[in-house]
Amino acid sequence: MTDFSVILAGFSDALTLTNMLYVIAGVIVGQFVGAMPGIGPVMTMAIAVPFTFVLNPLPAIGLLIGINKGGLVGGAIPAILINTPGTPDAAATAIDGHPLSKKGKPLKALKMALYSSVTGDTFSDIVLITVAAPLAVIALKMGPVEVFALMVFAFSLISGLIGASVTRGIIATALGLLAATVGLDPEHSTPRFLFGFYDLYDGFPIAAVAIGTLAFAEIIRRLISMTGEIRPAVNFPKDQPREDKRISFKEYWSCKFVLLRGALIGTGIGAVPGMGSTAAAFMSYASTKQSSAQPEKFGKGDIRGIAATESANSSVAGADMMPLLTLGLPGSASSAMLIGAFLIQGIQPGPLLFESQGQLVYGLFGAMLMANLCNFIIGLFGLRIWAKLITAPESLIFSAAMVFCVAGVYLATGGIFGVYIMLIFALIGLVMTALNYPVVVFIIAFFLAPRFELALGQSAAILRGDPLRLVNHPVALVLFGMSVFAVYWLNIRKKNNKPKQPKESKSEPEFNENLQPEEA
């Protein structure tokens, strides 16, 4: 177990002025981009990753975590005010948030969303802090065969849960693994798929691939489908009674069980790679409505509806870090970005992280808790500002994002070659999105591929090439069995669910950062 002094040192690292400023900056940027429909925290994290290159690991990851958490709060603002979720996970918030806003109580709705979001997020962070270290100890007992089996299981879950169909998820995973084989083979150090480009010796640059597929492709996709329409201005009603502008402690406390249920659902779902915060939000909303004595009030501006969705979608953020930090397996687009940032810093997330970089991990936990506090304070004072900024022209936002993408990739890869790689992966991302292949699955597989190949090599050596020797590794055997079952079951489930799919989830909103207004 980690020494207590390391835990204290980590938390005190998080409280240094530099780290605090980066977390605050991240939260401000996150709330802003969350409030801007079409940008979203994942795209911003992708753009920010190369700029974190010059920072130390803690402020770098702290900045990205701030962006992610800020985005969760910011996403609810346009959902409530203009019925257009800033982030996909805020889609469920619009169900009760927008009607409450239309009743002339936009600030009440926004504040309930803020309080619920911070509550859910803090809950899952505390669960993460308490559970992560013991989980990492268990994970450390796993050998290469078990690690390989676990990766196969994670791939099968992610392939099955994200995207239009299981086969598409599997194809995206294999494409990610294939793309990562470019460069030197880790076992024999022989070049693969270089095509005469010696810049590819180290493989495709992580920053170029991440920005190309997740940010640049998304910007182009948005640009080509843009209608040039200007969003309506948002004005808060003046001379409102005080109770219509605030959430009293009594009102907040009346939602305690709703908040707790949402946080539990979000934490549970977040811990499973691939489930996503949108699913958590809708699930929490449905269960709250179902268990309510007055379900007819939902959808008409009930604060419990906002509390249920916001506490659930925000609590996914902390829980999402569990598989990332303890097993090195990212389960969502935002954690894929974080693993990219870790790798750029030369750090391999996984169970060993707690031993080798314990201080950094606890610094990270400190930064997460601090980000929640910042989210609360900045959100409280910034709600009116963000509400004004959501009317800023998309032309400005997207042109600036493009410039940042080019500059960021050039800096991270040290040359124009990386920029061209980014363009190629933007094209790949565009084609994949157009053909309904989940880009997030592709990127997660790409990031995990080096570990996958290493674990495969080690497993082959341990098993001496004989799969029958797997009987000596019961955990791995169970995980392989679960992988097969997961693919089979998720395939059947997807087929059965298809006709009943709600309108909101038609185009895999969990990972498509940019919901079109009509989907809200």
Partner: protein, 139 residues
């Protein structure tokens, strides 16, 4: 044949081409090893082929082709590549404003103050930040 089936067939043919034509020339052949350089690419390619064949006969997902969007995407792609070429030839400070201005005009922005902010202030600020504050060379 629907577009969905057509794209799946293209994917299968592409993977077969990669496996039989490209891979032998791009990956060294190593013997007497359990895991060779071609192992993971081979596994990946065959997973894609098997999944794609399954998809060909079972999928109900429909893919729509929108020629207008494809044309716009192609125009954007050509414009972006041209702007980046200008950046490499003449420098970021000249290419980035052209890129930003083209994007803004392309999506219908005509308000001068936003055009000035997006195409001049932001790219030049990025350039100044990187070259003078971070002390890094930007193209």
């Amino acid at each position: 044949m629907t577009l969905e089936r057509l794209q799946t067939v293209i994917l299968i043919l592409g993977m077969l081409f990669l496996y039989f034509v490209i891979m032998p020339g791009q990956i060294d052949h190593i013997e007497n090893a359990r895991i060779v350089p071609a192992t993971v690419p081979t596994i990946s390619i065959w997973i894609i082929i098997i999944a794609a064949v399954f998809q060909l006969f079972s999928t109900k997902v429909s893919v729509k082709f929108n020629p207008t969007l494809c044309l716009r995407a192609a125009i954007f792609a050509i414009f972006v590549i041209t702007s980046i070429t200008i950046m490499t030839r003449f420098g970021f400070e000249y290419g980035a404003p052209i890129l930003a201005l083209g994007v803004m005009l392309g999506i219908g922005e005509r308000r001068l103050h936003w055009l000035f902010l997006g195409s001049t202030v932001i790219p030049i600020s990025v350039w100044l930040l990187v070259e003078n504050v971070l002390d890094r060379v930007l193209m």
